[in-house]
Amino acid sequence: AQSVTQPDIHITVSEGASLELRCNYSYGATPYLFWYVQSPGQGLQLLLKYFSGDTLVQGIKGFEAEFKRSQSSFNLRKPSVHWSDAAEYFCAVASSNTGNQFYFGTGTSLTVIP
């Protein structure tokens, strides 16, 4: 069965510091991987996605993620965090067959301190 694990429930970083949010997935075939961000009271905004090709993908707002098949990971990174990045971040995986169902992780809440 497909599943997504985000080991960190809550992360606090200082503004300007680098950030890495972890995501591990379980899926037999090649997965389609996504990162979404949810600000309070807002919907889920797509940050970036990986389907195939270059394993380092660039997204919006200066985020990037690297697909590592050997580690079944798709960690999200940002070199310098801004206060406006404080939000909930969700990793998701979709099957490459139908793509209808997304499996979300439980999310990582990011707090940014001045």
Partner: protein, 112 residues
């Protein structure tokens, strides 16, 4: 940038009542979805809709749920007889292709 919109933003209803949650997907998208997020839990898939019919649904999507695309722009989720455990944030999503989904801001449903 085009976006998915949802109304209302918050719906309060009594247990046993029917509710209809409305969504306007992005105009050129062909795939439509409903997801829900119970407070403090994961976002869960409910149903996908393509070519005017349900293409896939989860175990959560039982007979009390239905979806409809009544016209060329709206996509609705109806819950016939709400239960307390239906209280959640309901997200509509749409996509041009099957894998890249754009989500709306959600409707918070509170069942009393």
């Amino acid at each position: 940038e085009p976006e998915v919109t949802q109304t209302p933003s918050h719906q309060v209803t009594q247990m046993g009542q029917e509710v209809i949650l409305r969504c306007v997907p992005i105009s050129n998208h062909l795939y439509f979805y409903w997801y829900r997020q119970i407070l403090g839990q994961k976002v869960e898939f409910l149903v996908s809709f393509y070519n005017n019919e349900i293409s896939e649904k989860s175990e959560i999507f039982d007979d009390q749920f239905s979806v409809e695309r009544p016209d060329g722009s709206n996509f609705t989720l109806k819950i016939r007889s709400t239960k307390l455990e239906d209280s959640a944030m309901y997200f509509c999503a749409s996509s041009e292709e099957a894998q890249a989904k754009y989500f709306g801001p959600g409707t918070r449903l509170t069942v009393l």
